[in-house]
């Protein structure tokens, strides 16, 4: 498994486990913000969303926008 494959897997796994949260995408975004190092975040932000579950993709989009001041 390459690093980006692993990050996609991790994001999907987090999303699956937070699926019952009131705001799953928000919860996933918060989790990644709190626990991933800057390089991991950058790699997933730069990724084309391939392989990401809809909740994980939404979370990463949300987080990327926030980090970029969007």
């Amino acid at each position: 498994m390459t690093t980006i494959e692993r990050l996609v897997y991790m994001a999907n796994q987090i999303a699956a486990n937070l699926a019952t949260d009131e705001d799953p995408a928000g919860a996933v975004a918060e989790h990644i913000a709190l626990f991933w190092d800057p390089r991991m975040k950058k790699l997933i932000f730069d990724h084309d969303s391939g392989g990401l579950s809809p909740v994980a993709a939404a979370a990463i989009h949300q987080l990327a926008q926030k980090q970029n001041g969007g």
Binding site: N17, R39, M40
Partner: protein, 951 residues
Amino acid sequence: MTYQPQSDFGTPASKSEQLATLTIDGRIVTVPSGTSVMRAAAMNGTSIPKLCATDSVNSFGSCRLCLIEIDGRKGTPASCTTPAEDGMIVHTQTPRLAKLRKGVMELYISDHPLDCLTCGANGDCELQDQAGAVGLRDVRYGEGANHLGQAKDHSNPYFDYDPSKCIACSRCIRACDEVQGTLALTMDGRGFASHISAGLASENFLSSECVSCGACVQACPTATLIEKKVVEIGTPERSVVTTCAYCGVGCTFRAEMRGEQLVRMVPNKEGKANRGHSCVKGRFAWGYAQHRERILKPMIRAAISDPWREVEWEEALSYAASELKRIADKYGKQALGGITSSRCTNEETFLVQKLVRAGFGNNNVDTCARVCHSPTGYGLKTTFGTSAGTQDFDSVEDSDVILLIGANPTDGHPVFASRMKRRLRGKNGNDGAKLIVVDPRRIDMVRTPHIEADHHLPLRPGTNVAVLTAMAHVIVTEGLADEAFIRERCDWDEYCHWAEFVSDKRHAPETLEPVTMVPAADLRAAARLFATRPNGAIYYGLGVTEHSQGSSTVMAIANLAMATGNIGRRGVGVNPLRGQNNVQGACDMGSFPHELPGYRHISDAATRSLFEADWGVPLDPEPGLRIPNMLDAAVDGVFKALYCQGEDILQSDPNTQHVSAGLAAMECVIVHDLFLNETANYAHIFLPGSTFLEKNGTFTNAERRIQPVRKVMSPMNGLEDWEVTQRLAQAMGLDWNYRHPSEIMDEIARLTPTFAGVSFARLDQEGSLQWPVNDAAPDGSPIMHVDGFVRGKGKFVVTDYVPTDEKTGPRFPLLLTTGRILSHYNVGAQTRRTENVAWHPEDLLEIHPNDAEDRGIKSGDWVKLASRSGETTLRAAVTDRVAPGVVYTTFHHPATQANVVTSDYSDWATNCPEYKVTAVQISASNGPTDWQESYESQAASSRRIIAVPAE
């Protein structure tokens, strides 16, 4: 201090709150009701002669030496079995008593060897002391039948049994029964033929069920059971109280010394974690500290293919600093990181994370707790507000039902297991606590002498969340939840949301039975039992955390405790049994890449500024890399340097081939350890470490109990570990000037609110303190969340069962789960270098008879264990302890490398590896795999050290 034996009051303390006042030898003494006259006298400074009594076991009344006279009563009762009563007037020394005692003692001595001068216990023998105490000067009985000259049993590697010296007092038997709870010893024969036997007549101590905890040796009043080291060295001349460096129970011991030589480790009666008990590891397995394979000189090499070259400390440290600086300049500061160890002290751990944050300039610090209890940190912080267990160990004495899940305490936490077993057995005719075991294996606690679990739920590995949710389903739908507690202490809306979730039919035990393999009726009965007993306590271990759903399981446990109102008093609670000695402390000290000491997130500007002001450097507000992320980054070529203190990631972390690839890709691996461990095969700089006997500091056990570690001998490598880290920091230009670990603790206390009241002086005074220690709890906190949760309201978290992606299939049809055995500790670096190998010389694969028969495998056969990650070979042990479809092994021996087969899957929240579930296939084998052979050859080559010619 000069050697003083520990006080022995003869009989155990009474816990009664009623008092009795009596007169003993003209002096008035007030004691709790139920106290024996013997103990009351001892508390008053009067030592009544005794042989069969010792305060670790109940009184027995057999030796007839402790006789007393009581005004108004006939005869001479035994003081050990006579309770003190109000108004009693006792005489301990009268002419009548003296004559009786002398007569009794004369009989004992008439059948005892008179080799006192050459006896191993000379000077430390109660029989000798009592002969003196009663004034025995002559033995009138001549030659006759006796027990002298019998063969000794030397089979146990740590102690001898000499039946010739036995006085048949039964102290050893009672210690084995009452203190250890193994019931391995018995009094065989009758009358003159009575003798102590370890199991069957054909067995010796080593082959018996004896677990070598040392309780019998401790209880023996003669040289019948005596440590081999005392026989070899002689009796100790001083003692120092320190804390064991093995598991998370945190037993304290008296290191009994002669000069700088350790004679024996004796469990400390004052130790609040162990209450005078020990296990084979802490009591006896310290020989590694002087093992010939210890590395005592720093070593360096340019490439891992080169042999090591021994150098002085200064050269090693300046080379390390220059390499770290070179790599930071070339690749950026994020290319550096460090790993702290749960085996090291709080002070050492604090310094390593400080070096990374303040010296390396990033947060790339992680700890071996990543691979064991990181989900505990996440789960309990989320639900309760703090990352720690809720109880002290004494709490188990008040439990009415115990839910044991994913823990094997008789092997992993043996001293606490003995306390738990004592509670399960009950006392004085009263029933003990009920027991529910949730474990894929039939661990010893399921059925052991005088204990049988009320329910064993042998779940399919990986289904903890489903089992706990099903239990919650039963509790909620059958109206067994403690709504009064929930309304008062928890967020009611969150509870309602959770209750609705668990009440769904898809979480019913009947629906989940095909997934969990747990019979629904058993699960329902277990849930009802847990919810309906007054005090329910949950104890868990790595069988909970080391899963894809580790954090969810911890939160499901917390949910269950809250739903049943089992938080905030004695006898209840959520109790993670920590694997290594200082897992709790390593986590407390800010070892995780996202947290500063005291579990405060690195992104919190107020906390960061506190540390920045104290340390004089800006801190990176972004979380750093966790261990698996470091290895990924290394393989990607962006993580280049690692300072690894006291941790062997190559053997202990999952998917060995990925770990080795990551290490091999780094340009500077600094290993700081006692031995050339497996990780050191990929190291460029080796900094020799010091053992727990050679340094000062503190460990924090599973109860949040901070206990002193005291230096009892000079470090053979020349420096304590905190000094090594400090000198590395100084070589990198940091202005660190700690003169003693107490100054590091002062800094921790200054910066960490939960440690505010902790200092070495206070620990010396109190013996130990359980955090939080602050203005609100100046003497510490044995039990947490008493009046409210740390986070305010307890949080119910919905924990949906998300199955692991590690699936069985035609190629890999079995599930492997891994664990520990009593005689070994973690990767075995210490215990493999002791006589403990007598019990467990190699890792074995447990396989069910059906699965073994299908594959033509017998016990003792070599088998190949293969998974999607890799393969290894080991010998099989065919047993129905494991269910069909499940196999089990330990990971103590590098020759096996069980982690060659474990997968990359990990907990969703923390990346704690999923050691407990790997799909595997087992087949017959002729010997080592190609991987094992190439690994062994690489390891041998890597461990070469250039011989330095003599000058």
